[in-house]
Amino acid sequence: MKSNLLLAIAIVAILIVFVNLSITLTKLQDLRNAVTGLAGSLGYVNVTVNTQASISFTNDTLTWGSGIVNTSGGWTNATLTTNLTAGSVTGGNWSGSGKRGLTIENQGNLNVSVSLNSSQNAVGMFGGTAARAAFQWNITAVKGGSCLNGTSCGTTNPQNTTLGTWYDVNTTTGQVVCDCLPWGDTKDLISIDILLRVPDDVSYTGTRSAIITATASAI
């Protein structure tokens, strides 16, 4: 009697194990089809890449050291300019060594227009005789095709700012300096060269600085 009972329980246990095994295998097949990238008629992968406008200052600081306008040499102002490789100084004794313009890279996956705004203009930066002072920027394409004509890029309100031209910085509304900065890695970098002209009758001495704000808007 007891051996029959044991036999019956053992058979029940084995049956349940087989049921469990078959269900597990079925479920595993379902999961394989559902959550893997199986390349076949049963597997699929659903990926959505969101669009993103993103820029970054890859060189975000331009710091001229200390210097003075060479008034003893007859200069009425000193002009400090940057380019992609070095700075230059006339009429003053600042050092141009290693002074490069700010650079902006498009790190998103959308073409963007770039506008600039400065916290200070020449008058706020230096004071003195306005005609002898200047604070300007000049945009150049570091990589070929980094700044396209807005008309060719589908910009709704193209400004078509001329590259390589000095413009007074804008402190009120952002000045569109590049209608179309593409996101492709071979054409996503522009340089903002800076011109500072310090008048000999400068009103504000010591450390002077301005914050340059770049705003990128998706096209």
């Binding site: 007891k2 009972l5 044991l6 329980i9 053992a10 029940v12 246990a13 349940i16 469990n20 269900i23 479920k27 379902d30 999961l31 089809n33 559902a34 959550v35 969101n50 669009t51 993103q52 406008a53 993103s54 820029i55 200052f57 975000d60 600081t61 331009l62 710091t63 001229w64 200390s66 210097g67 003075i68 306008v69 008034t71 003893s72 700010l102 902006i104 998103g108 959308l110 963007v112 400065s118 230096f126 800076i194 310090v198 000999d200 009758d201 400068v202 001495t205 010591g206 450390t207 002077r208 600085s209 301005a210 914050i211 340059i212 704000t213 770049a214 705003t215 990128a216 808007s217 998706a218």
Partner: protein, 64 residues
Amino acid sequence: MVSEKIVVALLIVAILLSVFSVILTVSIDADSIRNIPMPSVKPKTNDQQTGQVGIIVIPPLSVP
């Protein structure tokens, strides 16, 4: 020799564990796993960054 009662008890425990395992396995729903909502990231259409320009200006020497 092992007592028959112990053997029966072990078999019953095995059956209960198997039943529990079946319930857990059946509860797995492949569709619900496939349809787990992905984190929603809104498209970003603008960005703003800042840089800085600085200079130290020494006062010009005044001529008496």
